[in-house]
């Protein structure tokens, strides 16, 4: 991102040349949990990007900046202050990762909205060679209280059928 923060993603794409519709998922959970969807999506002719918003994955020891890299947090469900296990921390950071975020409101955080916008404009359009033609559809799951369990936005490339599936973990 422009502010130097690294956002990590897994990319699944059809094993074929050409441009494909891109489905971008931003999840507050472990991005590897989207593997099944990524593989199935690629088999149907989509490029699927499973991305963790800033703060979900702890920064590397090399010092890659992350917006949130805490080892402790206030558990939002109980309000009690205590040290968290590693798994709990990741889970928790999906909910309360930034000062200006309340409850996992990925779309509600100005920083996250900026990240998402940059992903559309730069990552997708340049690295995946997808034309900038605007978001066409959104899937929201369990949107009710601001917790964004799954967010998809899609851009439209040219239409091709897939000849297979390619899994690309090179994007971290």
């Amino acid at each position: 991102m422009r502010d130097g923060v690294t956002l990590r993603a897994d990319i699944y794409r059809p094993k074929a040349d050409g441009k494909f519709p891109v489905l971008l998922e931003r999840t507050p959970y472990d991005k590897s949990g989207g593997r099944d969807f990524g593989m199935r999506g690629a088999a149907r002719g989509y490029v699927v990007v499973i991305q963790t918003p800033a703060g979900v994955t702890p920064a590397k020891a090399s010092g890659i900046p992350s917006r949130t890299n805490r080892t402790t947090a206030l558990t939002p469900w109980s309000g009690r202050l205590r040290f968290l296990t590693r798994t709990e921390k990741w889970e928790c950071l999906g909910f309360i990762r930034r000062r200006d975020t309340i409850s996992g409101g990925d779309r509600a955080s100005p920083a996250s909205r900026r990240d998402r916008s940059e992903c559309y404009r730069f990552q997708l359009s340049r690295r995946l060679d997808v034309p900038r033609r605007g978001v066409r559809a959104v899937v929201q799951s369990k949107l009710g209280f601001g917790i964004e369990r799954r967010y998809f936005a899609a851009r439209f490339g040219s239409r091709h059928n897939s000849a297979g599936v390619e899994e690309d973990a090179s994007a971290n």
Partner: protein
Amino acid sequence: MRGVPPAKSLAPYYADWLAHPNYDEYWKALSIEEHYSQIQVPVFNIADWYDIFLGGSLRNYQLLKTNGGSEAARKGQRLLIGIGGMPEARKNGRSATWILARKAPFDVDGITLDWYDAIFKGVKNAFAAGSKCGFL
């Protein structure tokens, strides 16, 4: 709590929450209900009957239908309510929703891809011909 840093240094946003006990501009800026008019694209809402967020999903569907920012957003959205939900307090290691979900598998990934097939590829599946609300 000895040895634990003060809450303000760990979670400064928590102090912000406490500073805004009422529904003021701070919360309005974060609430989707204040921003339906900015949604311009069709939305596929997925909820669960026994999920604590069901009420919010239904409300989003209803309000987006009237307040969406475009014709596509107002008329193109779909709502699917599946069985199951967020795990609640468990007894004997299993929750009621877990048992229900096991008895009625819900292929949310496949249904989601069907939605995209209908939108992007013009596939004549259940989304193209079906009703706007679905229940499993």
